[in-house]
Amino acid sequence: MDHQQTHSSNPRELQMARSMCWHCQSEVSGEYFCDRCVKVQPVSKETDYFTCFGFPRRLTIDPGKLEAKFYELSRAFHPDFYQNKSETEQSISLGNAATLNSAYRTLRDPIQRVEYLLDLEAGSVKEIRNSPPADLFEEILELQDTLDEYRASDRTSDAGQQLRTQLQAEQVTLEQRKRDMETQLQQLFTDWDLLQDRGEATSQARSERDRLLKQMREILSNRTYVKSIVNDLVATIG
């Protein structure tokens, strides 16, 4: 823990748009370095993670390409390479490296990636679901009962063992269901990417876009619900 932080003198121009170099005030057209004075430029707060990696807003990402770009940008931004530079450059390097690491962590994982995209396209998705998804309603209610029964039972007894076997089977089913949802998501990823690639501005394309976003949001939220039930199950039966 740093004992005291003083950030009141943080230069305001750092937060200004990327269009002007903080150092030589010339127009910045290069990605992260000023063309004229070669100083590192801060990644703007408005830059989304896809843009940060120079990727289009697509849901299918080649992990190899993502990693290669991550390594390339790490070499450009990491504080290790700014030890001999000015304090401003060191602070930009630190901020950029932290942003880059968040971006990589988010884009690397398909679930975090789609959550992030939904957030960009249509606002936050992280509302917690309190009721089971419709098609799972019966099943989940039954499972909750079995869980309660098992918790109250003598676990070494035959009845307890039987309940345990039942719960284990339920766990397998739910995990399969979670995988199915992920496969469904994968298909929606492809649909989304194709729609984006077509780049149409018709009302049909717009409603297709909204439909895809809605579906992905629905599946994500169901998946989160199932995942927490599975975690609960695992925690109970060990």
């Binding site: 823990m1 740093d2 004992h3 005291q4 932080q5 003083t6 950030h7 009141s8 943080n10 390594y71 790490s74 070499r75 990491h78 504080p79 290790d80 390479f81 030890q83 001999n84 630190l94 901020g95 490296a97 932290a98 942003t99 690491n101 968040s102 990589y104 962590r105």
Partner: protein, 606 residues
């Protein structure tokens, strides 16, 4: 740019290394040994460090500090269970452990600073330049307080600590540089006081840490204790003696336990022999490797759980690991190698001396920072989740463990009551659900303008830098103004205290210089005695009997002075002996010249 050295500040031993034309090298001391025992002794002539201090472990146990690293960034309650093992006395002040040495108390960073200073002086003497910048290694599983304490130690020692780097990753840099390894490697680092496991992916010069885990309170020290406890039980049942009231003998037992452990890495059995107090004779027994292994099996098993957890966090099975690297003195034990081999299913590497590899890696990182090495880059992670306490005493995680650093997280705060002017924030580190089960890092009060409830919007940014150390800043989203936050660390020294300690370290530097002078003078005296005795044996026939007895008298006077604590007295006796031995020296020189140069006199040829 001024030279940056790499320092391994270990529990048992410390080393300093530097980069010499693209090759990392450890720096030896006057005695040609690179290792400085991490021991500090308070003598009547001031503080001494290293090999010389180690001699005081049994002579002066209450005033000789070892394994101070176990206390870095800790409060007294954290180490309650092991207090009985340490002969020196510990207290606490402001959440920080203090070690009592004579009249004064010292914080663990101050003691560590003495070791760092010794290494700094050693590097300066070897390289012939002033050293002010360093990279210092810490166990990967060190929390924020422990890292900050290490940084404080550097500052107190007059070093600008440019980077705190994790020991296992440092080791991977040393291996990576030497062997140009690619693939996934596991670094198993079992040292004197701590255990770490790090899993890395090496690709085109990028060292990306995938996961790390460990135990900052598990090391060779714990093994020594098991052995020592066995000896103590034995002594109590066979001789009816309880040694716990004899700190000096307790130290002898501890050192004998360590010696037995080390010996049993090569031998299958070893003889143990320790003198008992009050003319009770000696305690002797045999210890076999099998007995040792049975005794410490549980400790070795405790290192395997973190290994499995790290694999799980990295999403890898043991067979996905291409290479396993062993670091730390405790990995010399055959049982450790065997268990590691069983877990990962491959023979571990240990080509680079496990005592030196961390310091060598720190030198490589120092070279990266100074711009010398440009093709290697280490991307490390934070070992523990960082969060804040929320309603109901629950920890809300902001930065998860194994997140690549630098890492940042933002959190928005507002008020619940009209006109509320502050929000209390409690920062935590750990993996448990409840705030009270995690490590408290700091508490601070966020200043808020008095407004209706819910209106203020203060964004707090938590940033973990490349050292794994946290900083916090806040800005008012309504006004865009940043505010400075004064954070009181829960288990750390305040800025003011660190400054005071830096000042003190200059003040005590005079005492330290005296202590160092004494040691060096004693060493010089010892060397002169040895050579003079040899000359006297060889050249006795060349001088008069009265000259010989004068030399013998001066020899014994110097030997007596050498035992004393006054460097000036020793210097004077050294001069006396040189004076008395002058005729002998000249006679021997003449004799050899006579034989070599056919009778020419010294005056003829000079």
């Amino acid at each position: 740019m001024a030279r940056i050295v790499g320092i391994d500040l270990g529990t048992t031993n410390s080393l300093v290394a530097y980069m010499d034309n693209g090759r990392p090298r450890v720096i030896p001391g006057r005695n040609e040994r690179a290792i400085v025992p991490s021991v500090v002794a308070m003598t009547d002539n001031g503080l001494i460090v290293g090999d010389a201090a180690k001699e005081h472990l049994t002579r002066n146990p209450e005033r000789t500090v070892y394994s101070v690293k176990r206390f870095m960034g800790k409060g007294l309650a954290d180490v309650q269970s092991e207090l009985a093992y340490f002969p020196y006395s510990l207290t606490e002040q402001g959440g920080v452990i203090r070690i009592k040495l004579g009249e004064k108390t010292y914080s663990p960073p101050q003691i560590s600073a003495m070791i760092l200073k010794e290494l700094k002086q050693r590097a300066e003497a070897h390289l012939g330049e002033s050293i002010t910048k360093a990279v210092i290694t810490v166990p990967a599983y060190f929390n924020d307080s422990q890292r900050q304490a290490t940084k404080d130690a550097g500052m107190i020692a007059g070093l600008d600590v440019l980077r705190i780097i994790n020991e296992p990753t440092a080791a991977s840099l040393a291996y990576g540089l030497q062997e140009k390894t690619q693939g996934t490697i596991a670094v198993y680092d079992f040292g004197g006081g701590t255990f770490d496991i790090s899993i890395l992916k090496l690709k085109n010069g990028i060292f990306e840490v995938l996961a790390t885990n460990g135990d900052t309170h598990l090391g060779g020290d714990d093994i020594d204790r098991r052995i020592a406890d066995l000896f103590l039980t034995d002594i109590s049942s066979r001789h009816g003696i309880d040694l716990s009231s004899h700190p000096d003998h307790m130290q002898t037992i501890r050192l004998e336990a360590e010696r037995a452990k080390i010996g049993l890495s090569d031998a299958l059995k070893i003889q143990v022999s320790v003198e008992l107090p009050d003319n009770n004779g000696r305690f002797t027994r045999e210890l076999t490797r099998d007995q040792l292994e049975a005794l410490i099996m549980e400790i070795i098993e405790r290192t395997l759980t973190p290994c499995r957890m790290a694999l799980k966090d990295a999403g890898l099975s043991p067979d996905a690991i291409d290479e396993v690297v062993l670091v730390g003195g405790s990995t010399r034990m055959p049982i450790v190698r065997q268990r590691v081999q069983e877990l990962f299913g491959k023979t571990p590497h240990c080509e680079i001396n496990p005592d030196e590899v961390v310091a060598l890696g720190a030198a490589v990182q120092a070279d990266i920072l100074s711009g010398g090495t440009t093709d290697m880059l280490l991307l490390d992670v934070t070992p523990l989740s960082l969060g804040i306490e929320t309603m109901g005493g629950v920890m809300s995680s902001l930065i998860r463990r194994n997140t690549t650093i630098p890492a940042s997280a933002k959190e928005m705060f507002t008020t619940y009551v009209d006109g509320q002017t502050g929000v209390d924030i409690h920062i935590l580190q750990g993996e448990r659900e409840l705030a009270k089960d995690n490590r408290s890092l700091a508490k601070f009060r966020l200043k808020v303008p008095p407004l209706p409830a819910g209106v203020p919007r203060i964004e707090v940014t938590f940033l973990i830098d490349a050292n794994g150390i946290l900083s916090v800043k806040a800005s008012d989203m309504r006004t865009g103004l940043s505010q400075s936050i004064e954070v009181k660390p829960s288990y750390g020294l305040s800025d003011h205290e660190v400054e005071q300690m830096i000042e003190d370290s200059f003040k005590f530097a005079k005492d330290d210089v005296n202590a160092r002078k004494l040691i060096e003078t004693r060493l010089d005296a010892g060397a002169l005695i040895t050579t003079t005795e040899k000359s006297l044996g060889d050249g006795l026939h060349l001088i008069a009997e009265e000259d010989a007895s004068a030399i013998r008298a001066a020899l014994s006077a110097l030997a007596t002075a050498q035992e004393g604590n006054d460097p000036r007295a020793i210097r004077a006796r050294i001069a006396d002996l040189e004076q008395s031995a002058q005729r002998l020296t000249v006679a021997m020189l003449n004799d050899s010249l006579k034989r070599g140069l056919q009778g020419k006199k010294v005056s003829d040829i000079t």
